[in-house]
Subunit: 192 residues, 2 copies
DNA sequence: CACGGATCCTAGCACCGCTAGACAAGCGAG
DNA sequence: CTCGCTTGTCTAGCGGTGCTAGGATCCGTG
C-alpha cells in the first residue's frame, strides 16, 4: 500500500504547486494573466491535469482565497496581539488589514473581488473564512459600544476597510492620506 | 451641408443606442453576457461598427459608467434636497446611495468595479465623476466635524458605503440588517 | 452619369475555458 | 512471466471571446 500512499502524497504536492503557481502568476501579472494554458505550462503539465484537481478556474481562485484568508487572519492577530488598549488594537488591526490588501492584491481580489465559488456568511462557509472574520471580531467586538451587536459592528467596520482597500487600489482614492483616513475611521467608529 | 448634419445626428443616435443596449444587457444578464457579438446583434449592426464608436469594450463600459455617475449624482441630490437636518440628510444620502447600487448593479459595477478606462481623483477626471463626488461632498461636508477636511471625510464615508454596497451584493454581508448598518454608520461617522 | 469617398460587413486572427478520446505506464490475476 | 485492466496523462479540438484587415456597397458630388 506504500505505493498508493506515495502517489497520494505526490498528488497533494502537485495540487499545492498549482495553487502556489496561480497565486504567484496572479500577483506578478494580475488574474487576467492566469489562464489555464499558462498555468499548465508553468507547472509543466498539460491543461487537463488542472481539471483533475479542480473543477475549473473558479475553484483555483477559491483555493487561493482560502489560503489568503488563513494568512490574513494570522496577520491581523499578530498585529493586534502586542497592542495594549482596545482602540489602539483596532487601529493596528485596520493598518494590518489595509497593509495585507496592498501587499497581496491578487489574493485580496481572490478573496473579495473575484468569484471563487465560495459561500460567505453562511453555515457552510469554509472554516478559514469564518476564522478570518472571527479574527476581526476579537478586536472589534471590544469597541462596538453599548447596545450594538458586535457582529454587526464588525461587519460595518470591515465593510469600511474593504471600501478603502478596493477604492485605493483601483485609483479611486488618493493614497497619500491613507493614514489619516484610518485614524479618522477608528476615532469615529470605535467607541471607548 | 444638411446631409452631413443628418448623418452626424444618426451617428450620435446610434452611439446612444449602443450604450443603452450595453447597459440593458448588463442589467439583465450581467456584464459577462455583454459580448461584442451579442451587443452588435442587438443593435442590428455588425461587430466592427462598435469599434467605429468606441476603442473597445472598455470604453463602452466607461460610457455606461459616466451615464451612471450622472444619474447617481441626481439621485443623491434628490434624496437629500427635501431633508432638514444635516445628519438626517446624510442618512438619506446613505440610503439613496445604497439603493442606487442595489437597483442598478451593472451600472454600479461599471462605475466602481470594472475597468472602464476612466481616470479617478485627478484633474482629467471626467466631469460626471467629479460631479458625483461633489454631490456627496455637499451633504457630507456639513458633518465632517471640526478640524477634519471635508474632502477626506467624504472619501471615508463614501468608501464605507462602497464597502457595504459591494459586500452586500456579493453575498458577503447578510442583507437583513442593512438599515441597522446604515444607522450605525451615520450615527458614528457623522458629527453634529 | 460616372466617379470617389464614406460606410459597413464578411471572414479571420489569436486567445480563452473546458473536454473527448487516444495512448502509455504500471498494477494484480492467472 | 504474461496478459488485461485501471490509472494517469497528453494531443487535439469545440465553441466562445475581443478585435481587425480588406473587400463590397452605397450615395452625394462634380
Amino acid at each position: 500500500m506504500s505505493v498508493q500512499e506515495r502517489k497520494r502524497r505526490e498528488r497533494a504536492e502537485r495540487e499545492r504547486l498549482i495553487v502556489a503557481t496561480a497565486r504567484e502568476l496572479a500577483e506578478q501579472q494580475g488574474w487576467d494573466a492566469v489562464t489555464t494554458r499558462r498555468l499548465a505550462e508553468r507547472i509543466e503539465y498539460s491543461q487537463p491535469v488542472l481539471y483533475s484537481h479542480f473543477r475549473g478556474k473558479r475553484e483555483i481562485i477559491g483555493a487561493v482565497a482560502l489560503e489568503g484568508a488563513t494568512e490574513m487572519a494570522a496577520a491581523v492577530r499578530a498585529a493586534t496581539a502586542a497592542v495594549a488598549g482596545p482602540r489602539e488594537r483596532v487601529a493596528a488591526l485596520a493598518r494590518a488589514y489595509l497593509d495585507f490588501a496592498e501587499r497581496n492584491p491578487a489574493v485580496y481580489d481572490a478573496l473579495f473581488q473575484l468569484d471563487g465559488g465560495l459561500a460567505y456568511a453562511r453555515e457552510d462557509t469554509p472554516e478559514p473564512l469564518k476564522d478570518a472574520f472571527a479574527a476581526l471580531l476579537e478586536s472589534l467586538g471590544e469597541v462596538a459600544g453599548d447596545g450594538v451587536d458586535p457582529g454587526l459592528f464588525t461587519e460595518l467596520f470591515w465593510a469600511s476597510l474593504h471600501g478603502i482597500a478596493t477604492l485605493t487600489r483601483a485609483g479611486r482614492l488618493p493614497p497619500e492620506y491613507a493614514e489619516q483616513r484610518v485614524r479618522l475611521l477608528v476615532n469615529r467608529l470605535a467607541v471607548a
